[in-house]
Amino acid sequence: MSSTVAVRKKHGGKFFRFSKIEPYLYIAPFMLLIIAFNFYTFFIGGKMAFTDAQGINVGEWIGLENFTRLIFNEPDFWPAIGRTFLYTFGCLVTQIPAAFLLAVILNSTIFGRIRGFLRASFYVPVLMNSVVAALLFRMLFNKDTGMVNWILGLLGLNNNIDWVFNPAYTMMLMIVVSFWQWTGYHMVYLLASLQAIDPTIYEVAKLDGAKPLRTMFSITLPLLRPAFTFVMVMSAIGGMQQFAYSYMLFPNAGYGPGMKALTGVPFIYRIGFSNNFEFGYATAAGWLLFLFILVVSLFQLRFFGLGQADEV
């Protein structure tokens, strides 16, 4: 360190000698990592999808065979993609309205001192491991010993429902766990966005005689549009990459009764890492899912507006 200072003093310039390459040295560690783990993955994946690679075997070039097999001959592929969309859609339409409702309630002034406690209670499930949440809900939804059937019994309803082993409830169960874990996250984001709105706007509206409902639709919702877009895009990207619930919510990694919990990433994991280690095949499936996710997020951005995101 002292030698560079000496060099600089001698030259009297503002920056010392290697200042031209210096910025690159600072970004180098990060760039090396992102090249190694992102770009290199894309590079290897670009090749691997067209081979019959198996495990550590590099395999031979087989052209588009993996893709045609997936699209035309794979009985599990389209159902898995369909479930991915269904799951993601189910998560979006339940979590975001609920999160918004909670955010509006918590934003009201009557909760002054306990707002922190309320926000924390809805947020805490976010901190939990998805594996723990899945195992916990498996126990809560147990037919004989679960809390859910007990409560249904207390309410005098049919409480002989086999939630975990009846395929009719599989998707609902995954959406319920996701709801419990992630609604609080969206709520905190929407609450912060609500609090970022300039209160004078509401005062002016009140002076103009606007009713609360009118204020909601003409002021709050339009101003929250970027926040809604952000929450929706993030939650769709997350939902479409979901793995832990499919793998852990149902006993013995069977992806639920009749494999009805097999969504995109679990499907890829299954063909790549638990059956025949068909790496080439799994990579082709990975690219297709990659494409679906990208299309969905771009569509959302387009449809609901980039909002502030394009100002980056």
Binding site: P23, Y24, A192
Partner: protein, 301 residues
């Protein structure tokens, strides 16, 4: 005019509440009670887990839950650490806990150094290609790379990181979000802060270390917290990479305990779950502000 309004306001404080105001007060209390009940109901699965982890195996699946069967001081008599003893002795959960802490702490430290250095350069130094490179980094943030499981697995193997903790720690430092977050923060720092130091002949490395890092403690804490939840709870990547039982982190350990087909040790599962969630919850209660800012920070962007 102003004075009159003021005295009127003051006056209304002394005047007794009208019936309408009374009703409004009552409605407020009901609303508060309702939302608190809702919050407690929302927390119920968690409360059940925390309670059950101290109960003997025979009481775990009691219906109704043991905690509702009698007064707390009666049911608390059955509390013990036996589930934890089982988890630690039969399944080496202690080792998994150490692994989780080790992986998480080192990954966070590495992330902070790597991302902060890069963020500093992107925010405050001028160099050809800066905006182009930064744009590419931003784009990677949107890409669902995890779908490419098999190629990623091969990369890890090629780099000699398979079945090693480093295989989880190092990739985490490549956080595009981290660079973005820090760059946005550094860009808003007043120029005078750095100029004086540069005039005095301090090198950029020194400016970064002695000026930038200390003033950016809040945003570093936000990033650390963000990474903490992501790494601590990561499941899929460790499941792929960590083969040896001795390397397992808590989520993988849970999966391993659960993977027994017959006579699952639900008591050990519950105790391990307790350990896996209590640490993030305690950290959250300590650093609530940073957690909330981590989410809402992007509101301001």
């Amino acid at each position: 005019m102003y004075a009159i309004v003021k005295t009127e306001e003051k006056g209304s404080l002394i005047v007794q509440k009208t019936p309408k105001e009374h009703r409004r007060g009552k409605g407020k209390t009901i609303k508060i009670i309702a939302i608190v009940m809702l919050a407690l109901g929302y927390l119920f699965p968690l409360i059940w887990l925390l309670d059950t982890s101290f109960r003997p195996k025979v009481e775990i699946f009691n219906v109704p839950p043991r905690i509702f069967q009698a007064a707390p001081w009666v049911t608390f008599k059955s509390y013990s650490f036996s589930n934890f003893t089982l988890a630690f002795e039969k399944y080496q959960v202690g080792l998994a806990l150490i692994n989780s802490v080790l992986v998480t702490v080192s990954a966070i430290l590495l992330t902070l150094i790597v991302c902060s250095l890069a963020g500093y350069a992107f925010a405050l130094l001028k160099f050809p290609g800066r905006n182009g490179i930064f744009f590419v980094i931003l784009c990677t943030m949107m890409l669902p790379t995890i779908t490419l499981l098999a190629p990623y697995f091969r990369v890890i193997r090629v780099l000699g990181l398979y079945n090693k903790h480093l295989g989880i720690i190092i990739p985490y430092a490549a956080s595009a979000f981290g660079v973005f977050l820090l760059r946005q923060y550094y860009i808003r720092l007043p120029n005078s802060l750095m100029e004086a130091a540069v005039m005095d002949g301090a090198s950029h490395l020194r400016v970064w270390w002695q000026i930038i890092l200390p003033v950016s403690k809040p945003v570093l804490a936000t990033l650390a917290i963000y990474q903490f939840t992501a790494i601590w709870n990561d499941f899929l990547v460790p499941l792929l990479i960590l083969r040896n039982k001795t390397l397992h982190t808590l989520p993988i350990k849970l999966q391993a305990i659960d993977s027994v087909n017959v006579a699952k040790d639900y008591d050990a599962i519950i105790a391990t779950s307790f350990i896996a969630i209590i640490i993030p919850i305690v950290v959250f209660l300590m650093f609530q502000r940073q957690f909330i800012e981590g989410i809402s920070g992007s509101v301001k962007e």
